[in-house]
């Protein structure tokens, strides 16, 4: 099944041409790794999918992004963002308690009932493997958690809204290897129920978790294929150079 269908996507920020003629098809319930050097357009691509780019004043785009067959530009942006959750590079808890962080998305979508909220919070925290560590202190500030716990809290917060897709923007760039392993483990379990798009600077991570891999360079999609194919026999020489660490 196709989750995203992207046709002739171009993005500008002011004079900067940040995304050039991208065409892609992203299947559902699998992990797509997106790799590429800094400023190659990976993050812009990711933020396009849940319409976060338009929070910038000077954003412009052409082309189409179809999500489940519907053009996301014609959908209500809040609905798009609920269906397509996002986990940021640095753990970004909101300045409130652990419970309120996870319940936040549920609350803003109109669920006032505290019991329903609590159920959603528990379920999401369990999915993100955080429940056992925090169940006794849900009322403490989210900033009291360690970096890895905070990042899993952000995953739980995203899951609580019950999205179909989760976008990860370099989710492990600030984490130690053990925390990273926990996050990757969570992703592998989550892909049974969710479509996951993972932007990462870490080529090995892309190889470890990605079913498919896309390589961006200079605001263009160079190639996209099965992860094994990309890492063993890429079609483009630039892809080969990048994954072998010749530049980046």
């Amino acid at each position: 099944m196709v989750e995203f269908l992207i046709k002739d996507l171009n993005i500008w920020f002011g004079q900067i041409h940040a995304m050039k003629n991208v065409n892609m098809e992203i299947g559902s319930k699998q992990i797509l790794s997106v790799i590429g050097p800094a400023n190659s357009g990976k993050t812009t691509f990711l933020r396009m999918l849940n319409r976060l780019n338009e929070l910038n004043d000077n954003f412009r785009m052409t082309g189409e992004v179809l999500f489940g067959g519907r053009d996301i530009v014609e959908m209500d942006p809040e609905t798009v963002r609920k269906k397509i959750g996002m986990v940021f590079a640095l753990p970004l808890p909101l300045p409130m308690s652990i419970f309120d962080n996870v319940a936040y998305g549920v609350k803003v979508s109109g669920v006032r009932n505290r019991k329903l909220q609590a159920a959603a919070v528990e379920k999401a925290l369990k999915q993100a493997y955080l429940w056992d560590e925090v169940k006794d202190r849900l009322d403490t500030s989210a900033f009291k958690l360690s970096g890895g716990q905070q990042q899993r809290l952000c995953i739980a917060r995203t899951l609580a809204v019950e999205p179909r897709v989760i976008l990860f923007d370099e989710p492990c760039s600030g984490l130690d290897p053990i925390s990273t392993a926990k996050v990757e483990e969570a992703m592998l379990v989550l892909k049974k129920d969710y479509t996951i798009i993972l932007v990462t600077n870490n080529v090995k991570q892309a190889a470890r978790v990605g079913d498919r891999t896309a390589f961006f360079l200079s605001s263009e999609l160079v190639e996209m294929d099965g992860t094994d194919k990309i890492f063993t026999a890429p079609r483009d020489k630039r892809t080969d150079d990048y994954i072998r660490g010749k530049f980046g």
Partner: protein, 302 residues
């Protein structure tokens, strides 16, 4: 300053003199001494003013002085109507200015784009802050007293003061809103919250201390101003309490002006006492603002 220092030691040989006059360390010492003296010239009088007013005003402060109406043409009795009048005016001003000022700051921080309109609004705020207070008085007289026919009343005075403190509230609130990290807004929006929900649940709760601080500073300013209320509300001598917002009231700053320039032979104790009450009121509000700011700064979680 160098030269004078040099001529003071004529015994030194010429060569040494020349060298000495360019001695950067000595120059620095003299320059820093000048800077220090300048600073003292500002700070010492501030301390003196406070000391003088407290010392001479404190003996006049009695319960009767604070709770009684003025008597014998303000030469005895208390200042209660003036205190109450100032409280009414300040409350009225804040009720008017806080919602408008806060929403205006929300507009600038959350909605405005970096365009010409935004530039124009910021320029207008700067100008509003710079308009002389007596011109606010004229404006209040023309608009509220005459045009809207509110007469000289609490309503006219409070609205005039409210417009006057608007820029203070906007500027302080804007600063508070902008100090909330941008990433919080993004996280909230990425969870499907709308722009207003993000403001309501994430931005405002984290900016509240700055907003309260700005509001209290605005209150302090409104409590101390005289010129804007001269023609819009203040009564020269009105030894009774107001019945409605369409009545005139006495106000502390105007009362101090009156008893120190317009009425001869007012007891020194009453004049200094009035000055002390006004000063204490204003400084208390400023102190409260500072305390709140420090409290929240310590509690800040990011």
């Amino acid at each position: 300053m160098n030269d004078s220092n040099v001529t003071e030691c004529p015994a030194s040989p010429a060569l040494k003199l020349k060298k000495r006059s360019r001695d950067p360390v000595l120059t620095q010492r003299l320059a820093f001494a000048f800077l220090f003296v300048s600073t003292l010239l500002i700070i010492v009088p501030v301390g003196l003013i406070i000391v003088i007013i407290v010392q001479k005003g404190l003996p006049g402060i009695t319960w009767q002085f604070l709770s009684d109406i003025p008597r014998q043409g303000m030469r005895s009795g208390g200042i209660f109507p003036a205190i109450l009048g100032t409280i009414y005016l300040v409350s009225g001003a804040i009720v008017f200015a806080l919602p408008i000022g806060l929403l205006s700051a929300v507009y600038l921080s959350e909605y405005a784009r970096g365009n010409f309109l935004t530039r124009l609004i910021k320029l207008a705020i700067v100008n509003l802050a710079g308009v002389p207070s007596v011109v606010y008085g004229l404006f209040g007289l023309a608009l509220f007293v005459t045009f809207f026919k509110f007469g000289a009343s609490i309503l006219s005075g409070a609205l005039t003061l409210g417009i006057m403190i608007l820029p203070i509230i906007i500027t302080a609130s804007l600063e508070a809103l902008e100090s909330v990290p941008h990433s919080f807004r993004e996280a909230s929006r990425s969870l499907g919250a709308s722009r207003w929900q993000t403001i309501r649940y994430v931005v405002l709760p984290n900016a509240i201390s700055g907003i309260i601080t700005g509001t209290i500073l605005g209150l302090g300013r409104a409590a101390g101003e005289t010129a804007p209320i001269l023609f819009t509300v203040a009564a020269f001598y009105l030894p009774q309490l107001p019945g409605s917002i369409f009545d005139q009231v006495m106000a502390l700053p105007y009362h101090l002006y009156v008893i120190s320039t317009q009425v001869p032979n007012v007891d020194e104790k009453i004049r200094y006492g009035t000055a002390l009450v006004l000063l204490a009121m204003v400084l208390f509000m400023n102190l409260a603002a500072v305390v709140i700011r420090c409290r929240f700064r310590k509690k800040k979680k990011w």
